[in-house]
Symmetry: C2
Subunit: 229 residues, 2 copies
DNA sequence: TCAAAAGTGTTCCCGCTACACCCATGT
DNA sequence: ACATGGGTGTAGCGGGAACACTTTTGA
């Protein structure tokens, strides 16, 4: 008594990537100008269809790499979107992923090829389909994650200043933070390494650079530690 | 220059439901004995294929209703599972949902029809495919949700005792809680109504019954309140 | 010497935790 | 009268929030 799978409807399955970057003091989103109908010329998240021989994670990584040239990027599956007419051409289920990249790392040529552009999170143009809904979910998730996991560092260069890190938290959480309390909090988590180097571009005095110590963090986690900002 | 959607691979899309219930002092999971190949006779989450004209949410609700007879149940989309061979018969993407039901409400006849049975969460039999992974994700999500949203009440009868509520939190969070601190905490949230009635089945003295005041909760939320246990 | 950002400590308060005894009732 | 579960208060501690001045150095 086998069940006949053939009687079931199949659907197109896509992935869409909400790609976040952080530049100076703004959280940014990478969008492409759609090069085909429907909605040609409008702004859109970067997406692609799931292929027979790849998982959703693989598809999302492929899509991200196609646009940025980057591999080994922090990505997380967000949610499955399935409104019947979300894509007017054909029934398509889309699984959204969000990615956190260091905005200086990507390949600018690839961006041009896809007519892609960074937008400040406070200044997003109209997007096609349900992409705004995806973005909102991604933002909420990002807020939660940065509060409970050390994922913020994915958006920064390897070496960063306290100021940059604080600003990052401020734009993600959308609230101002007290400098002293912020430093106290992050330092007592004891997962940063203070370098001897200073960044001299931001002030005459210069500010010390820090690195996230991933090994230390993971060791602490396995001892029951939980990151909490 | 239309893009040709037809060149893309289609896939079967399914939903699987992690159905939680709470009985006396155990968190329980509703499983069915699979009536068809592959893996006929093994235990499985209740699932079904997505149809052309329904969303994932609708499919999950249909599947839940088929098994329990219940409608308007708390459900939440969990995660999309997509390993290539997760279903050995054919490539199937499955989107998992979890549901919280009052275990006394369901229709026992329907359970029989599907050879379904409740299992204590500490005593789950081997499951087919990646259903254990789904369950683990659901449990982690449920823990977080009950800590930050008043979803626990979905698992209880409309009227419940403090004892029941505390026990519920204990089995979900998998830790013992102090009776006094628990009452203090939940009472200061100020979203319960203490009834005049007592439940006389649990002790000679009897214990007061409470109801969750959803309207009050929602009013408070719109004033900036956040539930936190 | 001044402008501009970096760096640094203390106090107060609230919320969480730990903890033990009396109450009501049916048998 | 006793056994069973129901119900209640307080003290101490720790972590988060508020808050302002000094330092460095290039121009």
């Amino acid at each position: 008594m086998d069940y006949n799978y053939n009687q079931e409807d199949k659907a197109l399955v896509a992935v869409d990537c909400i790609i976040f970057g952080f530049d100076e003091d703004d959280l940014k989103l990478l969008l492409i100008k759609r090069g085909f109908e429907p909605e040609m010329g409008k702004w859109s998240l970067m997406g692609g269809f799931l292929k027979k021989n790849e998982t959703l994670d693989e598809a999302a990584n492929r899509v991200l790499q196609t646009l940025t040239g980057l591999d080994e990027v922090y990505m997380e599956q967000l949610y499955g979107f399935s409104k019947i007419d979300r894509d007017p051409v054909e029934r398509t289920i889309s699984v959204a992923y969000y990615a956190l990249i260091n905005i200086n790392d990507h390949n600018p040529k690839l961006l041009d090829q896809h007519s892609a552009q960074w937008f400040s999170i406070g200044d997003i143009p109209p997007l096609i389909f349900d992409h705004h809904e995806m973005l909102n979910k991604a933002l909420r998730r990002l807020r939660r994650r940065t509060s409970t996991n050390p994922v913020g560092f994915e958006l920064l260069p390897k070496k960063f200043t306290m100021r940059q890190l604080q600003k990052l938290y401020e734009v993600i959480l959308d609230e101002e933070l007290d400098k002293r309390n912020f430093q106290k909090k992050i330092k007592q988590l004891d997962v940063l390494v203070k370098l001897k180097e200073k960044d001299m571009t931001s002030s005459r005095k210069g500010s010390f650079l820090y690195e996230f110590d991933k090994e230390k963090y993971e060791k602490k986690v396995s001892d029951g530690f939980t990151f909490k900002m």
